[in-house]
C-alpha cells in the first residue's frame, strides 16, 4: 500500500483521534504521529536474546510496532543500557528474510529447496519419524543440539522422549575448558555472567579476551569504570585490540604460547614470594609440588617461547604480586584455542589462588548462596543406553560434547544416531570441520531445525520450524546468579508475525504427538511461569511491569571471618596440584608443550568478535549489517607489502588442507603480529535465503578443518589452522 502523508492525514481525520485501527501505518510516520500527540507509546519489559547475556530490555511500542529498545535499569546485566546489538533487536523482528512458515525439504540435502507446509503437516511428519526412530533404534538415537532459551523447552522434550544425548556448542566449542579448569582448581566455575570484580581491581589481565569488541553489557560497563578509575590493564594478545589500546602493558604474545607466560609468572611470584601465604595456608593444597613443577619456567625461558622480553614478563609478574589480592585474571569465555585449554584455565586459576584473589575484592567475587526451590515435575524416564555425548573424556560437562554426537552419527558406534533436533544454534558455523558435519547430516533420517532465521544449518534440514523472535514470545524465567539473585521475565512485546510460533508451543506440540503431554502439563507457558512465581513468592503482575526482580540480601561477594571460603573440590581446598587429574593420567600441574607454528608463507588463523555481531546470528540483521556488513582479514602491514596486498582489496584465504575462503577484504594494519591473521567470526553465510549475509565475507569456520581436542574435557581447540593469503583471482 502506498501511503503518502496526505492520505495518512485524511485517514486519521476520518478516524477521529484514534489511530489504533491503522495497523498498516508505515513505520516512518510513527514517530511523527507520536510527536504530534496522535499516538501514545507503550513500554513493555522483557529480556534480550541477541546474545547470551540476557539483558533486561524495555521495548517502546507504537501502534503495535517496536520502534525502540532500551536497557532496563532494574536489570543487573543491563543497568539501563543496551549494546549495539540489543538496540538493533527490532532488526531481527522485522527482518524480511525471517522464516515465515514451516518448510519441508523437496530437493537433496544442501540444495536449499523447500515447500511451505502447515504446522500440522510438519509436526506430524516429525512425530512419525521420531516414533519410527524410537521403535527401530531406541530413543537414544535422537540427539539435541541447543543453545540459549530454546534449551528450556527442547531439553525436557528430549529427556521425556528418553534420550540423554544433548550437545551444546557452548561447552566443547566455547566455555567448556575454562569451566572445567576452574572447577578442578576451585570446585566451581566462574559463572555466566562471569563473577569478575572489575570495578575493584587494581590490576586486570586479559588473555586474548577483547572486551569492548567482545560486548558483554554489564561486564564492559565495569571494564570502562575500571579504566576510568585507573586500574592497570595488562592485555596479552597477538593483536592490538581495542582493549590493548587502553592497556598499561600490551604483551603481543606469539600465539599458542600463553601457558609459557603464565608458568613464568607463577615462577616469579613464587621465587620472589609475592604470593598470599596466609590465604594459601588456609585454603590451598599442593604448593610444594607446584613450586617444584615451575622451577625451570624462568622468565628467560618463557621469553624465548612467547617472543616477549624477559623484563616485561618479570615486570608484569611483579605488578600482579604487588597488587594482590585485588587482581583480576579474567578467565575469558571462548577458551577453545589449542587443545590444552583446560590446563591453561588451570594456570589462570593457580595464579589467582597464589594472589589470593578468589573471593576477594577486585578478584573473583562469590556467587550468591541464595537459591530457589525447584518446581515439581514428572521424573524423566531413565535411558536404557549409556549417553554417548560425553565420549571418553573424564571431565566432559553435562552440556555434552557436540562432536562426539557427530562422530557417532557418522560411524554408527557405539550406537546409531538417526535424528537431530537443532534449536538456537547454527551448527554449520559453530562446529569445526564442516565436512564432518555434512557427512553426519547425510546419515540422518531426520534433521529438524527450529530457528528464527534461515541459517546455514536450517537450510540443511528436512523440516524447518519457524520460531518467533524473542520479542514475540514467552520463555522460561531467567534466574540470574550474579552478586545477587535475580529473576527476569521474557514476555511477548508484540504478537508473532507470519506463521511463526514460540519455542515452548513447538516443543509441547511435538510432545503431544509423541504421547508425552504429561511432561508439559500446562496450557501455555505463561501458566507455568505464574505457578513458578507463586512458588517463589514473586508477584507475577509486578514482574510483568518491572521485568526483573532482584532478591534482596542475597549477595555475599567476599570471604569474611564469619563466612570463610568453601571449596567443593575433592580435598575441600584449592587444588594447586590436582590429584583428580593425576589419577586420570593427566598433568597434575599444567605443563607447557610447544604447538606447531606456521610454515613460511602461512599465518595462524585467529578469530574473535565484533561488538555489533553475535556469532553468525546477526550478520543478516539490517541494522547491524549496516555497521559491519562483512568481515575483514587483519594482516600485518609488512607482510602485506611482501604479498603486494593493499588495504581494502579483496583477498582469498587458503588453509593447509587447500580449502579456499570466499573473498574477504584485507585490513592492512600495524595492529597485528606477522605470524597470524585475524578475522571476526560468523560471516560468509551459505544460506541463499539470507539476502544480506549470503556470501558476504569469509567463513572462518570453513577454514577450520582441523581442531585439537582437549583430552581432559573433549573441547575442540580451533586456533590451530594455518592459511595463506592470496590475491583474489590468483590460483596457486
Amino acid at each position: 500500500m502506498k501511503f503518502s502523508r496526505r492520505t495518512f492525514l485524511k485517514a486519521s481525520g476520518a478516524a477521529g483521534c484514534s489511530l489504533a485501527a491503522y495497523a498498516a501505518l508505515p513505520e516512518k510516520f510513527l514517530l511523527w504521529a507520536e510527536e504530534q500527540g496522535m499516538l501514545k507509546a507503550s513500554y513493555v519489559p522483557t529480556f534480550c536474546e541477541i546474545c547470551f547475556w540476557k539483558c533486561g530490555a524495555v521495548a517502546k511500542v507504537l501502534n503495535g510496532r517496536v520502534v525502540k529498545l532500551e536497557g532496563n535499569p532494574a536489570h543487573p546485566g543491563a543497568r539501563g543500557k543496551l549494546c549495539a546489538r540489543g538496540n538493533a533487536g527490532a532488526g531481527l523482528l522485522y527482518d524480511p528474510n525471517r522464516l515465515k512458515t514451516p518448510l519441508i525439504r523437496t530437493g537433496a540435502r544442501g540444495e536449499q529447496k523447500y515447500r511451505k507446509a502447515t504446522w500440522d503437516e510438519a509436526l506430524d511428519l516429525i512425530a512419525s519419524k521420531m516414533k519410527h526412530i524410537k521403535s527401530e533404534f531406541g530413543p537414544e538415537s535422537v540427539a539435541l543440539f541447543t543453545h540459549g532459551t530454546p534449551t528450556d523447552h527442547f531439553l525436557p522434550l528430549l529427556s521425556a522422549y528418553g534420550s540423554p544425548n544433548v550437545g551444546m556448542p557452548s561447552f566443547a566449542q566455547c566455555r567448556g575448558p575454562r569451566d572445567v579448569g576452574l572447577e578442578l582448581t576451585f570446585g566451581e566455575g566462574i559463572g555466566s555472567p562471569e563473577r569478575v570484580d572489575l570495578t575493584r581491581s587494581k590490576v586486570l589481565v586479559l588473555f586474548g579476551s577483547h572486551l569492548g569488541e567482545n560486548m558483554h553489557n554489564s561486564q564492559v560497563q565495569d571494564f570502562a569504570d575500571a579504566l576510568a578509575m585507573g586500574t592497570k590493564l595488562i592485555v596479552v594478545d597477538p593483536r592490538f585490540s581495542i582493549a590493548a589500546g587502553k592497556a598499561h602493558s600490551w604483551l603481543p604474545i606469539r600465539p599458542a604460547t600463553d601457558l609459557a607466560l603464565m608458568l613464568a609468572w607463577i615462577h616469579v611470584i613464587i621465587k620472589e614470594q609475592l604470593y598470599d601465604k596466609a590465604y594459601l595456608d588456609a585454603y590451598a593444597n599442593g604448593f610444594t609440588e607446584l613450586a617444584a613443577a615451575v622451577a625451570d619456567c624462568t622468565p628467560e625461558w618463557a621469553a624465548h617461547e612467547t617472543d616477549l622480553s624477559a623484563e616485561s614478563i618479570v615486570e608484569t609478574a611483579r605488578l600482579l604480586g604487588h597488587n594482590a589480592p585485588n587482581v583480576c585474571l579474567h578467565p575469558g569465555r571462548h577458551a577453545t584455542w589449542y587443545g590444552d585449554d583446560v590446563q591453561r584455565s588451570r594456570a589462570i586459576g593457580i595464579l589467582a589462588a597464589l594472589l589470593g584473589s578468589w573471593g576477594r575484592e577486585g578478584g573473583y567475587f562469590l556467587a550468591t548462596r541464595t537459591s530457589l526451590p525447584k518446581p515439581e515435575s514428572k521424573p524423566f524416564p531413565e535411558p536404557a543406553k549409556a549417553p554417548l555425548n560425553l565420549g571418553n573424556f573424564p571431565f566432559a560437562g553435562a552440556e555434552g560434547v557436540t562432536q562426539e554426537i557427530r562422530r557417532a552419527t557418522i560411524s554408527g558406534t557405539p550406537y546409531p544416531i538417526k535424528g537431530w533436533i537443532v534449536t538456537g544454534t547454527n551448527l554449520m558455523k559453530a562446529m569445526p570441520n564442516q565436512k564432518e558435519t555434512i557427512e553426519a547430516i547425510n546419515k540422518l533420517d531426520l534433521l529438524v531445525v527450529v530457528d528464527v532465521m534461515p541459517t546455514d544449518t536450517a537450510m540443511m534440514a528436512d523440516v524447518i520450524l519457524p520460531e518467533c523472535s524473542y520479542l514475540e514470545r514467552h520463555d522460561a524465567l531467567a534466574v540470574g546468579k550474579g552478586r545477587s539473585l535475580s529473576i527476569s521475565l521474557r514476555q511477548p512485546v508484540v504478537q508473532p508475525l507470519y506463521d511463526s510460533k514460540p519455542g515452548w508451543w513447538i516443543a509441547k506440540q511435538i510432545a503431544n504427538r509423541l504421547d508425552l503431554a504429561d511432561y508439559f502439563p500446562w496450557q501455555n507457558l505463561e501458566e507455568k511461569i505464574q505457578a513458578q512465581c507463586a512458588l517463589w513468592g514473586v508477584n507475577y503482575q509486578e514482574l510483568k511491569k518491572v521485568g526483573t526482580i532482584t532478591i534482596p540480601n542475597s549477595a555475599n561477594p567476599y570471604i569474611t571471618a564469619e563466612a570463610p571460603a568453601e571449596f567443593k573440590t575433592g580435598s575441600g581446598k584449592i587444588e594447586l596440584y590436582s590429584k583428580e587429574l593425576k589419577e586420570k593420567g593427566f598433568d597434575p600441574v599444567p605443563r607447557y608443550t610447544r604447538h606447531p607454528v606456521p610454515r613460511q608463507g602461512e599465518f595462524r588463523l585467529v578469530y574473535g568478535r565484533s561488538p555489533v555481531h553475535t556469532f553468525s546470528r546477526t550478520a543478516n540483521n539490517p541494522e547491524l549489517h549496516e555497521l559491519y556488513p562483512e568481515n575483514e582479514v587483519w594482516i600485518n602491514s609488512g607482510k602485506a607489502k611482501d604479498l603486494g596486498v593493499i588495504n581494502g582489496e579483496y583477498v582469498v584465504l587458503v588453509n593447509q588442507d587447500g580449502v579456499r575462503s570466499n573473498r574477504i577484504k584485507a585490513k592492512v594494519t600495524q595492529r597485528i603480529r606477522t605470524d597470524c591473521v585475524y578475522v571476526v567470526h560468523g560471516f560468509g553465510a551459505a544460506s541463499k535465503s539470507l539476502s544480506r549475509a549470503f556470501a558476504k565475507g569469509a567463513d572462518d569456520q570453513g577454514m577450520i578443518t582441523r581442531y585439537a581436542v582437549d583430552p581432559i574435557c573433549g573441547s575442540t581447540g580451533m586456533h590451530v589452522n594455518f592459511v595463506r593469503v592470496e590475491k583474489e583471482g590468483v590460483h596457486a
Binding site: 525502540k68 560497563q221 587502553k246 561488538p611 600495524q670
Partner: protein
C-alpha cells in the same frame, strides 16, 4: 535557561557502537546515514602503537557556520544552546552540509530536509538523556547543563583536561573531549 553540552570521556569509550544504533533508532536516521559515529585512529608502528577512539557528532557550536550559511533560516541556534532545524523551512540546498567543518549533517533523502544531531531534543523535553548517552556502555558520553555547577558535564569539565575538535575553526563547540587523566592547572 539551561546551556546544554556534551562531554565525551574518551578514556571510557570502547567503540562498541551502541550509541550509533540507539541514535539511528531514536531518530529514524535513514539507512547509510548517521548522526554520530565513532572514529578509531591508530598511530605508530608495531608494537609501539597508540589508539584514539573518538565519538563525533554535531558540536552544537556557539558560533555555528551552518546557521550563518542557511539561506532560508531553517537552521537556528536555540536559546538553550542547541543547533536545530525547522524542517518546514529547509529546502535541502546543502549549504549547511558544506559549511559544517565536522561533517555532522546529511540530507535526509526520504524526507527532503537537512538533518543532524539534535541532542535528542524530544527526549530532553521528557526529562530523559539523549539516546546515545542513555545507552553508552562505557558512560563515555555525558550530557547536561553547563549553567548548573552540580551537573555531570560541569563536574567532568572541572575535574579534567578537555579539548574541543578543530578549535582553530573558531566555532566554539559545545561538545568537549577528555583524553587524559589529570586535573586542569
Amino acid at each position: 535557561m539551561p546551556k546544554y553540552a556534551m562531554v565525551v570521556d574518551q578514556r571510557r569509550c570502547v567503540a562498541c557502537m551502541a550509541c550509533v544504533v540507539a541514535c539511528k533508532k531514536e531518530n529514524e536516521v535513514p539507512p547509510g546515514q548517521f548522526r554520530t559515529r565513532v572514529v578509531e585512529q591508530v598511530e605508530g608502528e608495531f608494537p609501539k602503537l597508540r589508539m584514539e577512539l573518538r565519538s563525533e557528532l554535531c558540536n552544537h557550536c556557539d558560533n555555528p557556520p551552518c546557521v550563518y550559511n542557511c539561506p532560508t533560516g531553517a537552521s537556528y541556534k536555540s536559546p538553550d544552546g542547541m543547533v536545530l532545524l525547522k524542517k518546514n523551512r529547509c529546502v535541502g540546498c546543502k549549504a549547511c552540509v558544506a559549511s559544517c567543518p565536522y561533517d555532522a549533517r546529511y540530507i535526509n533523502e526520504e524526507k527532503g530536509f537537512a538533518d543532524k544531531c539534535t541532542f535528542c531534543s524530544q527526549r530532553i523535553a521528557e526529562g530523559k538523556q539523549p539516546a546515545c548517552v542513555s545507552t553508552c556502555i562505557g558512560k563515555s558520553r555525558i550530557f547536561g547543563d553547563l549553567e548548573d555547577p552540580a551537573s555531570a558535564v560541569s563536574a567532568a569539565l572541572r575535574d579534567n583536561h578537555h579539548d574541543v575538535l578543530l578549535a582553530s575553526a573558531g566555532t566554539n563547540p559545545r561538545v568537549f573531549y577528555i583524553k587524559k587523566f589529570g586535573k586542569p592547572e
